[in-house]
Every structure is written in C-alpha cells, then in structure tokens.
C-alpha cells in the first residue's frame, strides 16, 4: 500500500473514532477528546499484551542467552540509528546527526553489522529521532491523543509520522525473504517488549490510573523530544503550576 493510501486509511479510521467519541462525556484532558474510545482501545491492547506479548517477552528474556538478546537489541538499534541520523539531519541538528551517524558507521563496521554496540562502549551517544518528531520540530502540532490498536499511544501527527517510518523501514524494504522479514519483525517487537518487563510491573503499582499515566507520560515525553534544541539534553518538565506552595 502506498503512503498516501495508508494515510487515508488512518485518517478514515480516526474520523470514525471522532464520530464515536462525540456521543460521550466531557473529557478530562483537552488534548484527549477521544478519551472514551481511547480507553476502550487501550483496554483491548492491555488484554493482548497480557495474554500474548508479555508472556512471549518474558519467555524470551528468561530463556534466550543474554549475549543473543544483546546482539538482537544492538542489531535493530543500529537500523533505528540509521533512520534517526536521517531525521536528525532533517531537523538540522548537526551534533546529533554527526553523533548518531558516527554510531552507525562504527557499529556497522567494527560492530559487525551492528551486532556489537561498540559505539556506546566508546561513549558515542545515540539521539533517537523519528519522522513524527521531525514534523513536531518543524511546528506541526501533535493533535489529539489517540491509542492505536496494537500499536499503542500516539497522536494524530505521530501516527502520520509512524506511517512514514514504516514506509522506509530498512528491515521491511531490504529483506527479500518473506519468512526472514516477518521473523525479524516479530523478533524486533519481542525484543522491544522485553525491555519493559520489570518496569511495567512497577508502573502498575504506582499509577493510580494506568491509562492517564501512560497518556500523560507519552505526551510529556513527545513534547520534550520535539522541542529539544540541538545540543540540549534537558528534560526540564513543566514546573509551571507548582506555585501552589504551602508557605510555612
């Protein structure tokens, strides 16, 4: 499916969601007008995660030798770094582009196609960037928060960005063998999920409302990532409201 057709599909889906959401109560977050529908999709995602994805990820984490896990993680991380380099370039961030580009070079050559993360060992930082972030950096506002089925939290802008990320995803475009391609994509997903095992349990314990926690966490992180200027690593946080101090 071409990019424009995909985008149309996504937009059509969102329009349907919008219609469904119109018949609901007042939302609690102005950036989340589709809250009721989002919550339903989020619940669905949670069930799939609980019953399928998390058990597989835990099994992977506990049974696959750690050096293999590391290799997988490094390999896909390297592919992601290639896309990040491009996006950092599109955001006109010289330092980040150079550093991430150097990572790719070092890891692909000395790290044998990215299996070994030599770059991190020598201290070259990665600056992850995707197309949604690039759009945001150049001023495209995020739009309403949406939870995508199976894919999880996103915004209207980031969904469009994700479609572009997907279109140029190296693993999907360069690998010819269908079996290897799907196998690799599945492995990448499991690897990603395995990275959150442990922290997810912690989140369940400390979040009063898991949906609200994830939504605000996602929006906060995206905002920080899209507003970050070149060379600036601060995640300053919105400290605005805490003028509510108890002066004692």
């Amino acid at each position: 499916m071409s990019l424009s057709r995909r985008l149309m599909c996504v937009l059509a889906m969102l329009a349907l969601l919008a219609q469904a959401a119109c018949a609901t109560n007042k939302p609690t977050n102005p950036q989340d007008p589709f809250e009721t529908t989002n919550r339903r999709i989020s619940d669905f995602n949670d069930k799939v995660d609980e019953n399928v994805l998390r058990p597989v990820a835990v099994g992977y984490k506990n049974n696959v030798p750690e050096f293999v896990q590391k290799g997988v993680n490094n390999f896909f991380g390297n592919l992601r770094d290639i896309w990040s380099t491009l996006n950092n370039g599109l955001q006109a961030k010289p330092m980040e582009t150079a550093e991430t580009g150097l990572r790719v070079a070092v890891n692909s050559v000395f790290g044998i196609y990215g299996l070994f993360d030599v770059a991190t060992m020598v201290g070259i930082q990665r600056h992850t960037a995707d197309f949604g972030q690039t759009l945001g950096y150049w001023g495209v506002s995020p739009g309403p928060y949406v939870v995508l089925p199976l894919l999880g939290p996103s915004t209207v802008r980031d969904t469009a960005g994700f479609a572009v990320d997907n279109r140029y995803d190296l693993w999907r475009t360069e690998v010819d063998s269908v079996g290897l391609r799907y196998g690799g994509s599945a492995l990448r997903l499991v690897d990603k999920r395995a990275g959150f095992v442990g922290m997810d349990k912690s989140m369940n314990e400390v979040a009063l409302d898991k949906y609200a926690f994830m939504r605000d966490a996602y929006l906060q992180r995206r905002k920080a990532a899209t507003q970050r200027k070149s060379g600036n690593q601060d995640s300053d946080g919105d400290d605005g409201d805490d003028g509510i101090r108890n002066d004692q």
């Binding site: 609690t28 977050n29 314990e205 906060q220 601060d234 995640s235 946080g237 400290d239 409201d241 805490d242």
Partner: protein
Amino acid sequence: MNTLTFAAPRLFKQWLAILALTLGLSGLATAQQAPDEFMQQLTNELLDMVRKDPALKAGDLQKIGAVLDTKLKPYINFQRMTAAAVGPAWRQATPEQQKRLQEEFKLLLMRSYSGALSQVKDNSSIVVKPLRQGTNDNEMVVRSEIRGGAEPIPIDYRLEKTADSDSGWRIYNFNILGIWLVDNYRTQFSQEINAKGIDGLIATLSERNKTNNRK
C-alpha cells in the same frame, strides 16, 4: 622569664587552634555542595547499599523502601511535591487531610523510585551528567542515568536550595524515564478529586499503598 618563653608558643598555638576552628566552622556553614556533586554522592551511597545487601539486590521492594526512608527522605521536600501534585484543591484541604495526602503520596513515590533501583545490577553505575546553568540559582535540574542494564534508565531531579537540609539542597520533583512524576500525578489526582473528593483520593492512595505492601 623562662616560664614566659615556654608559655608564649603554647598560647600562640591555642590561638591558632581557635582561629582555625572558627574559620573551619564558618567555612562549613557557608559551603554548600554543588547540587550535582550532592546527587552523585547520594546516589552512589544508595547504589552501594543496594549492591552490598543480597535482599536489596534481589529487588525486595520493602527493604529498598526502608533504605530510601532513612537515606533519601531527609533530602526530599514532600510537602512541596504533594501540594504541586494535588493542585488547587490543596488549599481547600484541612491540615489533617494534607498530612495524610503527604504520607500516602510519599509511600507511592518511594515505590516508584524503588522500582527503578530494583533494576540495578552488579555492574550498574549511576552517572550524574554535568550541571547545566539554569535560569534560577535556587532551583536546579540534575540529570543522571542508571547504567548497566539493557538500556540506561534516565533519572532526573529538580532540586531547590534550602537551609533545612544539611547538604543545602532538597529534591522536589523526580523524572524517571522522561516522565516528571509530580506532573504526571497531577492529572490522576485531579481525576480522583473530581470523582471522589479529597477524602476519596486519600482512600485510593491508601488502598494502593496497602496492596503494594502486601506484595
């Protein structure tokens, strides 16, 4: 004559000692550790404690919580954090409610920090990044990372200058994995307060803390 010449150096030494002591004391009183040094020292101590104790290393959240209670709590301004998270409703809460909110929120926050610490492995290190000059000298952001796991876990702190703590700094907001906790809780708290009022929020927090402690 002889006694004088013997006494003089001793007196002189005494004066020197007193002088040195006063200078030293005033030095202590005015010297404030730089916030990043302070955090590096504090987090290194925490990490050491976690590494040395096998129960802590195994991720026993109760025990980690107890350690945090003694080591970290004195350096946190829980009142400011709770007030910020509760928002406008804080002013309408009675002192008793405020106290309870603070206690319950403290337990919850320590739980989240314990969660991050429980990911610590043998080869983990906490690296505090160089301080960036902020706009305000009385409030600083200190950035750190727990390294050694699959991915580094970023933990940032917002610190305020204070006369209360002996290091001169107190934490009033945590950022774990890019999420400022006080800001994040603000939404969840206002949801609860709108639905069930302040007492409802206290009840929910208390219930959650009890459930967590049972695990």
